[in-house]
Symmetry: C2
Subunit: 317 residues, 2 copies
């Protein structure tokens, strides 16, 4: 079958072996895949991954033990826990040290004609959602994870640093709380793409003098963003980290003690809630799409996705 | 008057000028002072402080606008806010950017015959408490700050890294929650000093294989402690930082995103609650005292306090 494979760079393979399902896994035909910033970091060596790339998908179940799934359109959670270690027994399978992670860790991904994934990870896509909308379930769930972790109330000041595709999703989600929100990035004009909600935005050099926020979400995707986010957060405030990147950061931990800052790492989130929000029509996704490529144009698609300031690049499989 | 002055090292001065109260300040005669790890860091250049050292004290009010205070035995909060900036207006005077901090920032400290402090910062000491007990109000409040910031329940696993005097206070406070507590340090034999509560303790090399905790409190007082604390905290767990030190730390922020770790800086805490707990008799302080020196032996007292593994050193003024 056709597949996009990470092995010291990204390569198109027209004769990749068909996947073989393990017990409990479904075989899924990929309809649409999305290239995420993590996929780009994998190319640079993050997580030391070799294999079929991709974890954002919409697909059709071709084969499964559960007959109710067959022929259904699905999205899927990326982490498959072992269900038998102490972390799993605490109910935290998403952080199981033995977990598979689709297209990231010990499991081939979705940029192929077919792939396998545990049936327990699948969520049915409502008919009212297009493939292009449903593709955003995974990143929207990651945005919603912030609200699973901390309470953001209507009186809170919140800054989002980074106006990439994840920043624009997070902005739409956090704006629903009624909080005093500011999106800070290099492309504030992008906000004009969003028509259903008005989000205030500015570039770093337009920031009002002395501006600070109680909650700062860092999603610039690079380590310089951390230093900037740290400066913007108020004492006793909360700094939410959404980016993962290869380098370590030099951090002044004493200043975080003196200012009593809370720093919180935030990753994958609730798929069911993301699907509900997409169905509600409150979240716009179409303006976040840069381009759609076919699978055999995958190398070109990755080249586009790697250009600075590119929005979501899709792969039609 | 006699005073211990930080100015490139610590010096005894027998003819230091008497303090002059500003409006709203009381003049306090020091009865007893305590040397804290922060005082030692100040000697190394932390916070760039010159002046009379010390912020832990029990004293007698000699002069004050409020007649009810005069002649009373008091302890006092160390931060004096400006009460007019945006941070103060948010109700967070403890983090006012213009704040004075007793013996740390723009205000002479307590290791002298007399010092001044805002009347608003003072708390009356109940008669049932000795000077030596009341001296622990400030560090006990700092220990209690953890419970102001996060909820620790009886089913939580909690590790405290560092069995210095702050670690032993934190251990006594957190044990009151009924949590599954382990104190990790170099001197587990110290726990035998505490007779009212049984706290489990071990040294780093005695840690059970694979041990981890939901909440890890770092109070080793050095940057190596951070790396060790990070390894012990479970995914989705919380790492509480109580130490401040001069160096920056290299931190793998991406692993904190992947593991969804919460890191929380923790500093000064509630004095009234600390006095209630001391009165209740639940917290032992006497075993935490290393030695008591007179003010004119202050340089020697600092030498003792700087030796590794020393407990609380007191200065009788």
């Amino acid at each position: 079958m056709q597949a996009l494979v990470i092995n010291k760079g990204i390569h198109f393979d027209g004769k990749y072996p068909q996947p073989l399902p393990k017990p409990g896994e479904a075989v899924i035909k990929t309809l649409l895949g999305g290239i995420c910033a993590t996929d780009i970091e994998l190319l640079k060596g993050y997580a030391d991954f070799n294999g079929v790339a991709g974890h954002e998908f919409v697909g059709i179940v071709e084969q499964a033990d559960n007959p109710a799934l067959i022929g259904k359109r699905v999205v899927g959670e990326i982490n498959t826990p072992c269900n038998s270690c102490p972390t799993c027994n605490r109910g935290d399978g998403n952080h199981c040290p033995n977990r598979l992670a689709l297209g990231i860790r010990m499991q081939n991904g979705v940029f192929a004609e077919r792939f396998t994934l545990s049936q327990a990870n699948l969520h049915l896509v409502p008919d009212s959602l297009s493939d292009r909308q449903a593709l955003f379930t995974e990143p929207l769930a990651a945005a919603l994870e912030i609200l699973s972790q901390i309470h953001i109330g209507p009186k809170d000041s919140v800054a989002i640093l980074g106006d990439g595709k994840l920043g624009l999703l997070i902005a739409q989600v956090l704006a629903l709380t009624g909080c005093d929100l500011l999106l800070i990035g290099r492309h504030p004009e992008r906000l004009k793409l969003l028509t259903r909600q008005t989000v205030k935005a500015c570039s770093t050099d337009q920031l009002p003098k002395g501006y600070s926020a109680k909650i700062v979400v860092e999603c610039t995707g690079n380590s310089r963003g951390f230093a900037q986010a740290r400066k913007l957060v108020q004492p006793r405030g909360c700094l939410v980290l959404k980016s993962s990147y290869s380098e370590n950061c030099l951090v002044d931990l004493s200043s975080m003690v003196v200012d009593e800052i809370t720093l919180i790492g935030s990753r994958c989130g609730p798929f069911a809630a993301a699907l509900r929000l997409l169905e509600s029509g409150l979240i716009e996704t179409e303006p976040l799409i840069e381009a759609e490529f076919s699978l055999n144009q995958g190398v070109e698609a990755f080249e586009t996705a790697q250009q600075k300031g590119t929005m979501k690049v899709l792969l039609r499989c």
